[in-house]
C-alpha cells in the first residue's frame, strides 16, 4: 500500500512548516544563546540590546509555527504522534519547560525594575533557549533512527540518548546559534553598528564551522544508526544536501570577505537551513518512522487531509496578507512605541485636569462602620441559621 497523494501533500506541508520553525524559531532560540554568551552586564550590553530588539517583534509568531507542527502531526498522522509523545515523554517535557520558561523570562524582563531581577529573568530566558532546541534535537534524532516503537508502552530512554540523538541535539543548538548570528549581522548592519557587525560576523563563522562539523558527525553516525535515511540523503536527497552545503559555505565566505549584503546573507542562510530539513523529509520518505511505520500506515482518513488543505489555504489567504501588512507598516514606520511631543503634552494636560478636579469625598468613616456592623449582623444570623438547621437534622 503506497501513500495517497493527499497524505504526501500534507506531509510536504508539514516539512515546510518544520523548516519555517527551524528558521524563525531557530533564530529566536539562537538569540537567547548569544544573550547567554554575551558576558557580564557591562560588556554584553550592546549585543544584548540588539538581540532584544530583533527578537521582540517575532517571538510570538514562532510559537504558532510549533503549534502548527503539533496539530498537523496529530490530525494527519495520529499513530505517529501518539507514539512520539509516549516514547519521548521526557525530552518533550523538557523542551516544553524550556519554551515556557523562555516566555516567562521574556515577559518579565521588560517590566522588571531592579537590575538584579532583570539579570535573573534574563538568565532564565537565555538558559531556556539552550534547553529547548537541544531536547527538540534529541526528539528528531530518535525519530530519524527509527527507535520510536509504533506501539509505545512507556518512556523509551534509549531512543533519545543514542549517540545520533545526542549529536542531533547539539547540532540543533549550533544551528540555532548560527542562523541567529547571521541574522544579527544583518540587523546590526541595518542599524549601522559596525562593532556589532564584526562581533556577530566572527560568531556566525564560528557557529557555522561548528554546525558543519556536527552535521558531518551526525551524517557519519546515520550511516550506522539509520541506513534508510543515510541512503536517502546520499541518493534521492543528495541535490538538496549539496545545495545546503554550498549555501552554508557561501554564507561563511560572504562573512569572511565582509561582503555583508543583507538580503543575500539572509537568503543564503535560510537556504542552508531549509534545504537540509527538506532533504531530511525526502530521505525519510516513505516512512514516518524508518522503517517501522510508513506514511500510508500512519495516515488519517482522507477527510482530515482535505480539512488540512483548507487550513493551509486559509493560512495563505488570511495570515500571509496579515503578515505582509504588519511588515509593510513596520517598514514604513507607521508602528511606533513612543509618544509624539503633542501626545505627551495632551496626556500631561489630561493628567493635570484629572488631578485638578476635586475628587468626590472618600467613603466616610460613618458609612464604613455602618457597613461593617450590618455585615457582622448578617454573618451572625447566617451562622445561627446553619447551626439551628444542623440541630434539627
Amino acid at each position: 500500500m503506497s501513500a495517497s497523494p493527499e497524505a504526501i501533500g500534507v506531509a510536504t506541508i508539514l516539512v515546510v512548516v518544520i523548516a519555517a520553525y527551524a528558521l524563525f524559531g531557530g533564530a529566536d532560540f539562537g538569540g537567547g544563546i548569544w544573550d547567554l554568551l554575551a558576558g557580564n552586564a557591562e560588556r554584553g550590553a550592546a549585543p544584548r540590546e540588539l538581540i532584544d530588539e530583533s527578537i521582540t517583534p517575532v517571538w510570538e509568531a514562532n510559537h504558532v509555527w510549533l503549534v502548527f507542527i503539533l496539530v498537523l502531526l496529530w490530525t494527519a498522522f495520529p499513530p505517529a504522534f501518539a507514539a512520539i509523545m509516549t516514547a519521548l515523554f521526557v525530552p518533550l517535557s523538557l523542551s516544553l519547560l524550556g519554551i515556557v520558561l523562555r516566555g516567562v523570562g521574556f515577559a518579565f524582563r521588560h517590566t522588571a525594575e531592579r537590575l538584579r531581577m532583570q539579570q535573573l529573568t534574563g538568565a532564565l530566558f537565555a538558559a531556556s533557549s539552550l534547553i529547548a532546541p537541544f531536547f527538540m534535537g534529541t526528539v528528531v534524532g530518535a525519530v530519524v533512527t527509527g527507535q520510536v516503537p509504533v506501539h509505545a508502552a512507556g518512556n523509551v530512554l534509549a531512543a533519545w540518548t543514542s549517540p545520533t540523538a545526542i549529536l542531533t541535539g547539539f547540532l540543533f543548538v549550533a544551528a540555532c546559534a548560527y542562523i541567529s548570528a547571521v541574522l544579527l549581522v544583518t540587523e546590526a548592519r541595518q542599524r549601522r553598528q559596525k562593532e556589532l557587525v564584526s562581533y556577530f560576523s566572527l560568531r556566525a563563522i564560528a557557529a557555522g564551522v561548528l554546525t558543519g562539523a556536527l552535521a558531518g558527525g551526525t551524517f557519519a553516525e546515520l550511516s550506522v544508526s539509520s541506513p534508510h535515511v543515510f541512503a536517502g540523503l546520499t541518493g534521492r536527497a543528495l541535490p538538496l544536501v549539496a545545495i545546503s552545503i554550498a549555501a552554508g559555505i557561501a554564507v561563511l565566505g560572504m562573512l569572511w570577505l565582509r561582503w555583508n549584503q543583507a538580503l543575500g546573507l539572509r537568503v543564503m542562510a535560510a537556504i542552508a537551513v531549509a534545504t537540509v530539513v527538506w532533504g531530511w523529509g525526502l530521505a525519510q520518505y516513505p516512512y514516518l518512522f524508518p522503517t517501522s511505520l510508513s506514511l500510508a500506515a500512519g495516515s488519517a482518513p482522507t477527510g482530515s487531509f482535505v480539512a488540512e488543505f483548507v487550513v493551509a489555504g486559509l493560512a495563505l489567504l488570511l495570515v500571509a496578507p496579515g503578515f505582509v501588512l504588519l511588515y509593510v507598516l513596520q517598514q514604513r514606520r507607521v508602528l511606533t512605541a513612543a509618544e509624539t511631543d503633542a501626545d505627551l503634552r495632551q496626556a500631561t494636560q489630561l493628567g493635570q485636569a484629572l488631578r485638578g478636579q476635586p475628587a468626590l469625598a472618600p467613603v466616610s468613616a460613618a458609612t464604613r462602620s455602618t457597613t461593617a456592623l450590618v455585615l457582622a449582623l448578617l454573618a451572625i444570623r447566617a451562622i445561627r441559621e446553619v447551626f439551628s438547621r444542623l440541630r434539627r437534622r
Binding site: 550590553a45 503549534v67 507514539a83 518512556n155 493560512a315 496579515g322 478636579q357 468626590l360
Partner: protein
Amino acid sequence: MGAVAHALAGGAVPARSQMGSSLGFHIILACFGVAFAAVTLTAEWIGIKRGDAAAVLLARRWSKVMAVLVAVGAVSGTVLSYEMGLLWPGLMGRFGAAIGLPFSFEGIFFFLEAIFVGIYLYGWQRLPPWLHWWSGMPIVIAGVLGALSVVAANSWMNSPAGYTLSHGKITRVDPVSVFFNASTPYETAHMVLAAYIVTAFVVAGVYAVGLLRGRRDRYHRLGFAIPFTIGGIAAPLQVMMGDIIARFIAQNQPVKFAAMEYIPRTTRDVPEWIGGILINGHVYFGASIPAFDSILVGFSPHVRVIGWDSVPSAQRPPLVTLIHLSFDLMVGIGFFLLALAAWQAWWWSFHRRLLLTPWFLVPAALGGVAAVAAMEAGWVVTEVGRQPWIVYRVLLVSSAVTPARGVPVTLAVILVVYAILTAVSIGVPMIMSRRWRQGQPAEEETEQVPYGPSPAVAGISPAGPASPPAAPTATGGPADP
C-alpha cells in the same frame, strides 16, 4: 479547584490534575483573548466619537495589558497542545484525525489575533484614529472564531460525530460534522458569553476598587462604566442561554444532567435541589423545590427526567456533590451578576448618572472574582460531568491516558510554572498601573510590552534600565578587530 476536582476523580489522577490545572489556568487568559479587544475598542470608539481624552487613554492602557495577557496565553496555549499528546496519546492516536481538525483552524485565528494585536498596539501614534479603530476589529472577530474552534473540539468530546470506526480505527472523517457537532452551537455561545462576562467584570472590578479608594475622576468612572455595561448586557443573555443549554444536556447527556441536579432515579415530579451534599444517596443541607426540575426541563411537573440509575454504576460520573455544587455556584453567580447589572440599570434609568455608593461598589468589585469562579465552576461541571468518558460513550479516560511514567514530576513542575505565569499576568499589569498612577506619561515611551515592532526599527531606541547606553568603543567585545 479544577485540579483538585480532577485529582479526586480517580483513575489517571496525575494526568487529569495536570490537564485540569493547565486548562483551568489557560481558560482565564483565553477569556481575555476573546473579549478584551471588544472592551478596549468600545472605549476607543467613545473616545473618538466624543473627543473624550479619558476614554482614549483607557483604551491605550488596556491595549498594553491586552498584549501582556495574550503573550502569556500564547505560552500556556503551547503547553496545552503539547499536553494533548503527552498526557492523552490514547485519545490523539485513535481520534486525532477527528478531534485535531478544530485545533488546526484555531491556529489560524490565533495567528491573526497575534498579528493584529501587534498592529493595534503599535499603531496608536501614526494611524488615523478610525483606521486604528478598525485595525482592532480583526482581533474581536478572530477571538470569537478561535473560541468557536477550540470549543468545537471540546463539544466533540461531548457529542462525538462525523467519523466512521472500523476495528477500532477511524476510516472516514467528515470535517464539517466534526466541527459542527450537536453540542457546538450551545457550548460556543455559552463560552463566548462567559469570556465577555469574565473580562468585563474583572476590568470593571479593578476600577470599582479605584472608585472605592476615592479616585472618582472621569477616567475611573469611565473605566468602570464601559466594561460594566458590556458585562451587564452579557449577563442576562448568559442566564437565558444557560437555561436553554441545561435543557439540551438533559436530552443529550442525561447522566451528566442527573449529576448536576441530584436525580438518582428516572421519575416524574423531579424536585429541584438548591445546595446540599449527597451522602449515601441522601441530600443533606439542601433546599428542594417540589417538581420544579421537571418544570424546568419540560415545562410541566409531570415530565419524566432521566436519573443516573439509567446506566451501570461504572459509567456514572464521580463526585456528584462537586458537580451539583459547582453547577449551583455557577447559576448563583450568574444571577448575582444579573442582579448587579439590573440594580445599576434601574438607578441609571431614573438618575442618568452612575450609582457609585459603597453598597454597590463592594459587590461590583467582587464581581470579577465571582465571574472567574463561575466560569471555573461551569467548566468543572462539563468536564467532571462527562467522566468516566473522555469521548462520551466512546472512549474511557483510563484508556486514553499515557502509559509513560513521570507525569507526577511534570505535574509538580507545571504547578510551579503556572504559579509564576499567574504572577506575570497579574503582576505586570499591576506594575504598569502603578507607573501610570505616578502620572509620568514620559515613562510610557520606554515601556516595553512583549511583541510588536521594536522601537529601534521605528526610529527610536529606548535605553532600558538593564542596558545602559555604554560607549560602543568600550563594549566592542573580543570580536572587534
